[in-house]
């Protein structure tokens, strides 16, 4: 671990890393990189979590990964180290490797972090920033890092005030930044089940009689997932549909009921659909390049419902 961090030093270490990897294996290794993936987290988060997520993500999204760990408070020095994540595809004899840089900094050094990051971005490839800490996402000093990424993935799950997070996302999107919320991504499986239900002509015919949707969410304040789902159902089914919320133990959203004159359709969601793993959600977001226009409308709708 080096005390002083210079981008040139990190790039040199990366070069040396590839030389040594090439010598380790008779078949050589395949260096893979399709994006720069920055993963920002609080220093207090177990460092293994980011590493394990990246190890899984690189299979489909090979990248130059930069793990940024930020501690609260002051401290000028940045620290860094470089490593490689490698895996052997089934049935192949050559490992595929991606490089990873870990940088530790304090909040007060975020401006310096940005300078270093700018020099470390893989040339001409997309830059994605996964922000695993809501504290960082809402930090004023973090905004320049958000502005540097082509796509930013935050997660409003567990926010004490989900509406504030949604408002921050809306503010970024209003300024033309592609900021996504994993709480919205978490609903893809649920939305797909709802859509599949109404693929059946006899069920689709009942939709016009629906006047109310009731969303069962986890106990506590109405989570962002429930707000998004309510806004989406209204967006899709029409403004005559009034959303309501009910709380129960379980995942952020566990059931939706479509209610109206002579209509009662209840769609419960299995755990695997209601609570997908973070890696699955990131995989979905990293694979999406096109803008999500439905999300724009849903975000505005969710804020108006709150």
């Amino acid at each position: 671990m080096s005390a002083a961090v210079s981008p040139e030093g990190i790039l040199k270490e990366l070069s040396q890393l590839w030389v040594s990897l090439g010598k380790e294996d008779d078949a050589g290794v395949l260096r893979a990189c399709a994006m720069t993936l920055i993963m920002a987290a609080d220093e207090s988060e177990d460092s293994a979590i980011a590493g394990e997520m990246l190890a899984e993500l690189i299979h489909e999204h090979p990248s130059r990964a930069i793990v940024l760990r930020v501690r609260s408070g002051e401290g000028a020095a940045l620290e860094s180290r470089v490593l490689a994540q490698c895996w052997m595809p089934f049935g192949k004899r050559q490992q595929i490797c991606c490089e990873q840089v870990e940088i530790t900094s304090s909040e007060t050094s975020l401006a310096e972090v940005r300078r270093v990051l700018m020099a470390l971005l893989a040339p001409d490839l997309p830059v994605l920033l996964v922000c695993r800490s809501l504290r960082l996402f809402l930090l004023e000093a973090f905004r320049p890092l958000i502005a540097a990424a082509g796509k930013v993935i935050a997660d409003s799950r567990g926010a004490a005030d989900p509406v504030m997070v949604l408002a921050a996302i809306a503010s970024h999107r209003g300024e033309g930044r592609n900021v996504q919320d994993l709480a919205w991504t978490r609903l893809t499986g649920i939305r797909q089940e709802i859509a599949a239900h109404f693929d059946r002509p006899e069920e689709a015919a009942r939709l016009s009689s629906v006047r109310r949707v009731e969303i069962t969410h986890a106990t506590g304040p109405v989570p962002a997932e429930a707000l998004y789902l309510a806004a989406w159902l209204r967006h899709a089914a029409g403004p005559q549909v009034v959303p309501s919320f009910a709380a129960a133990e379980g995942p952020p959203v566990s059931q939706v009921a479509f209610l109206g004159d002579g209509v009662e359709i209840r769609i419960p969601f299995a755990a695997a659909i209601a609570a997908p793993r973070d890696c699955e959600l990131l995989h979905e977001e990293l694979g999406l390049a096109a803008p999500d226009s439905i999300y724009d409308r849903v975000l505005a709708g969710a804020l108006s419902l709150a």
């Binding site: 090979p62 895996w87 089934f90 939305r191 859509a195 059946r200």
Partner: protein
Amino acid sequence: MVGAMAEASNPFHDALRFERRVPPCAIVIFGANGDLTKRKLIPALYRLAYERRMPSGYVIYGNSRTEMPDDVYRAKMKESVKQFLEDSPFDEELWSQFAQSLYYVAGDVQDTAFYSKLAGRLKEHDQKTAGNMLFYLSTQPSHYEPIVGGLGAAGLNQGPGWRRVVVEKPFGIDMATAKALNRRLQAVFPESAIYRIDHYLGKETVQNVLAVRFANGIFEPLWNRRYVNNVQITAAESIGVEGRGAYYQESGALRDMIQNHLLQVMATIAMEPSAAFEPNAVRDERAKLLRSIRILKEEEIATHAVPGQYGPGSMGGKPIPGFRQEPGVNPEAQTDTYVAATFFIDNWRWAGVPFYIRTGKRLPKRVTDIAIQFNAAPLSLFERDNMGGNQHLARPNLLIIRVQPEEGISLRFLSKNPGGGMKLRPVSMDFNYGSSFGVRTPTAYETLLVDALAGDATLYTRQDMVEASWAVVQPILDYWNSHKFEFPNYEAGTWGPRQSDEMLDRRGHLWRVP
């Protein structure tokens, strides 16, 4: 109907994020004991189940004549999946679940009573499959007609639910039989329900040709007669006929590879962009291109199409028998195990650009690629030989689309050698599917089966496409059938007969070494 139409009218549908849904259905495979079923179809369906891409409700029925209980068939298919599953681990637990949906129904496809029995068995699963049915003809072509006729007579060609039929090549053995087959199929199923499978079109790299051409701005401006000097399509196999000598001697490389796979690849390379990425829009453009291929006149065939047949040779130090020495092959067979042909496309984009296609068995290695050779720079500033000639003209820019075994794209261009002087050397800029995407690419059959189940015929061939490619190939077949060739004319383990090199040499071109 549950499917593409329902998706379009469903207000909850999200095209950006939702995976394409495959509706519940029954899949019936005729030829359940055949090689294709064992090596490709069942492993592909198992892999789709592994990836959770099979519908929520499905059953698979295998049919052949041999009496066999479901469990015996399941055990046989399990062994096949274990043996032929490509780049995937075998999961015992998943197989148990998959096997519960796998059934066997014995019956003679010539016997009309069999189809009533089949209809009865399928009806038992209507609740699960919503009455949707996909019939896969994986039998010898002579069975296509009785199967389709039997399905029609038993009412299995009509709903409730959708009905589709997948037909394997060959689509006829010549133009007349292809037309007759089309008539018989269309007498029972509408054209929109007939899925003629050409597994080359399901290959990821062949699909990627469309992405490379039409999603990028840099290639299409060069993709025409002004910049392209010639196009070379190579589909080489190192193996011989592998016990299929009796079949192969009736078919030959022209029918087996060029009439279907390679003309479809050529159409993909050369077609105009379609107005939309929709099945009929894409297929219209492919068909238009196939109809634009110049039909060779009889007097042109000898100079534009070279047949070959391998003789004995050696590969890797091992002696290899010639085609005529293969089991089941007539010692005087006139079969083409190799074909090289020059085609021209009579349209404004490609007029005058030769498309060279070659395919063969017992060539030095297994490789399929497409090379777009660009015109040379008009003048070399840098390297001249001692007679003042342009040295770089012999090393043209090439864009190579590698279909197999290593999928990817390479661009070859000239670069300065390090050090003093302006010596140039060709270098290659490579894109490798493995390093950019890392993941296993689906097999062609996985892609095509999901497409057929979802009702997407983009990668399937249509009647007019089949007939247009027969129109290209038929005069060559007729000419070859009326001539006797001095076979064998290439040694196993070499790149084909001398006449093939001469065919290119006449236009100042060379086959590249893939």
